[in-house]
């Protein structure tokens, strides 16, 4: 068997693949956090809980209504997105004039409510969710075995990430968004409905988290605590990348996923802490993050 640095090649590539998959979820979630923070000035602590909710809605749709994976991929993010819009309209929008910390505290409370509710009904053990027929099986690439579903996860999340990036950077709507990030009042003075834009931004970013959740459902088991640890890792990723750029958060997300995969191969004990160590080092060398701009 072929070896790379004393590690069997299939093992190394297998871990790299897992790293890439985790990285895709990190990218989708940190992208959403970056967009929300840019437009609403809120760090959404509930992002992990909403990701979990996306997976759970897909599971519930399948078990109670018989709605399968493909419709769920669209319907679950839509449902969670509407839920997000309700949160933004009824609660978050009251906090925009206050210290940013209140937004964090409010969404922390929401995360507790959402996760606690699901734990009460479904317990902390996971529910299995089978991938659709067409995506089962895999391909032998010669140097490793590639399960089809995992390849699909990476491709799908990359498409969504790049799509979002193009939407923000290359369209008129995106230009309004970026303008609102710079100066909300001025954009409003031009007759653009900024509050509506903020509501839709939150709904969209939350739907992205739910989309990641549905993608994740067949990979991991669907459990009420699946987003708890993830959100903290994503926070660290956001600190590493800096909240300045969308492309930055996508690249950092994927990069950290790969680094975690490598750590799991060569030094497994550190695989769950390596992201936090990287965060500390980045903070010492580049306090504003790899892609961040100095802020006020």
């Amino acid at each position: 068997m072929q070896e790379i640095l004393g590690v069997p090649a299939p093992l190394l590539f297998g871990q790299l693949l897992i790293g890439l998959i985790n990285g895709s979820f990190y990218a989708l979630l940190s992208l959403g956090l970056a967009v929300i923070f840019g437009v609403l000035n809120v760090i959404n602590f509930a992002h992990g809980a909403l990701y979990m909710m996306g997976a759970f809605v897909a599971w519930l749709l399948l078990h109670h209504l018989g709605i399968g994976y493909w419709p769920s991929l669209l319907v679950a993010p839509l449902i969670v997105g509407v839920f997000g819009i309700v949160i933004e309209r009824t609660m978050l929008s009251r906090l925009y004039d206050l210290d940013h910390l209140y937004g964090l505290l409010l969404t922390f409370g929401l995360a507790l409510i959402i996760e606690g509710t699901f734990i009460n009904f479904y317990g902390v053990s996971g529910q299995p969710y089978a991938p659709p027929e067409i995506l089962t099986g895999g391909h032998n690439l010669g140097f490793m075995f590639l399960p089809t579903y995992r390849a699909w996860v990476i491709v799908a999340s990359l498409i969504v990430c790049i799509g979002t990036w193009l939407l923000v950077e290359r369209t008129r709507l995106g230009a309004y968004l970026r303008a609102a990030v710079e100066n909300r009042e001025l954009v409003r003075a031009f007759g653009i409905n900024v509050p509506l834009m903020m509501t839709l931004t939150y709904g969209f970013a939350v739907a992205l988290a739910a989309f990641a959740g549905v993608l994740a459902a067949p990979v991991y088991t669907v459990s009420p605590i699946m987003g708890q640890h993830l959100i903290i890792v994503v926070f660290a990723i956001v600190v590493i990348g800096g909240l300045g750029s969308i492309l930055g958060s996508i690249l950092t997300g994927l990069g950290i996923g790969i680094v975690e995969g490598l750590t799991k191969t060569f030094y497994p004990e550190a695989s769950s802490t390596v992201v936090f160590v990287i965060m500390a080092i980045v903070l010492i060398l580049r306090p504003n993050g790899l892609f961040g701009r100095p802020r006020e």
Binding site: L101, F108, I113, N120, I232, L283
Partner: protein, 323 residues
């Protein structure tokens, strides 16, 4: 000119009155601590309350007086509990030195974490402290001396220098009460010292403090170290009281709980965190029958506090009486 003088006299007078009120509150507080176990409240409950009240007060030093929200204080609380538990149970160095070891460990961690985290402000500071604390959680999950999921159990309460036996619950209560009073007094003195005033200055206007020549970064790290050390004191004491140290103490839910206590009681007030800790602990006690719905209730209180009650109980009372 006369106006200024009378103003000074007036503030001098209010100062004296405040001081008198302060002594009065201190005397009532000490008396309350002394008689509380005879009022039909379980001493174990009281000890838990005092540990968490001290925890919340130490946390409030950062949030209320420096204006930095740490979402990782459970790391100091839990780690100090582990160190104290291990030192007392395995090394057998005695209760007092065990608690001191826990406090010292938390202080050193605070120094390191503080030095890293103060490189960013506001919301980033919260995320960084949360991430660093999660790192400590994984360390505690994997390190052999913490015994992973089981935690350290059966920590002996021991004696105070071989003189006072702490196995008696009432004696233990007074030991905890003394620790609480000492920690509270240190925090109180800190807040009202020139150092504390400089911290408030940083909270109100950081660029101005920098231009006035204050070593702002150093002051922040010192405050964080102190907050962490006293948090450690609370955590180590809790480990002795309950004779166990577990992963619950280092989990991020614990960091959230202390934020909630401070928020309910009123951040930036001396007595707010104590009141907040009392409410949260009492609530958990009464709601323990509904199991995991407690998390939902806590979340709901968080949301309600942030939306409608941002000054907290003590903050609200102060705001009304001062008007």
């Amino acid at each position: 000119m006369t106006d200024t003088t009378s103003n000074v006299e007036l503030s001098d007078d209010t100062f004296r009155r405040h001081r008198l009120a302060g002594y009065l509150i201190a005397a009532i507080g000490i008396a309350a601590l002394a008689v509380a176990p005879f009022l039909g409240i379980y001493p174990i409950f009281l000890m838990k309350l005092l540990c968490f009240a001290l925890f919340a007060c130490a946390f409030n030093l950062m949030l209320g007086y420096v204006g930095l929200l740490s979402f990782g204080h459970a790391a100091f609380f839990g780690m100090a509990a582990y160190v104290a538990g291990h030192a007392v149970k395995v090394w057998g160095i005695g209760t007092v030195f065990g608690i001191a070891a826990g406090t010292l460990t938390a202080g050193i961690m605070g120094l390191v974490f503080g030095a890293i985290a103060i490189r960013q402000k506001g919301i980033y500071f919260a995320m960084i402290t949360l991430a660093l604390a999660q790192m400590v959680f994984f360390f505690c999950l994997q390190a052999p001396f913490t015994h992973g999921e089981d935690g350290i159990q059966g920590i002996p309460r021991g004696t105070v220098f071989g003189l006072i036996d702490l196995r008696d619950t009432l004696t233990m209560y007074y030991f905890v009460a003394v620790i609480f009073a000492a920690g509270f007094f240190v925090l109180h003195r800190t807040v009202h010292s020139p150092f504390g005033q400089a911290l408030k200055g940083i909270r109100e206007n950081e660029p101005r403090m920098i231009s006035l020549g204050y070593p702002v970064a150093l002051l922040k790290v010192l405050a964080f170290t102190m907050s962490a050390a006293i948090t450690g004191l609370a955590g180590a004491t809790k480990a002795i009281v309950f004779q166990s140290a577990t992963l619950t103490d280092v989990n991020w839910h614990m960091s959230g709980e202390v934020v909630l206590m401070t928020l309910i009681g009123g951040m930036g007030t001396i007595l707010g965190p104590v009141a907040g800790a009392g409410i949260v602990i009492a609530l958990q006690n009464y709601l323990s029958t509904i199991g995991s719905w407690v998390t939902v209730v806590m979340g709901a209180i968080f949301v309600i506090c942030v939306l409608t009650f941002r000054r907290g109980i003590v903050g609200e009372i102060l705001a009304r009486t001062r008007r």
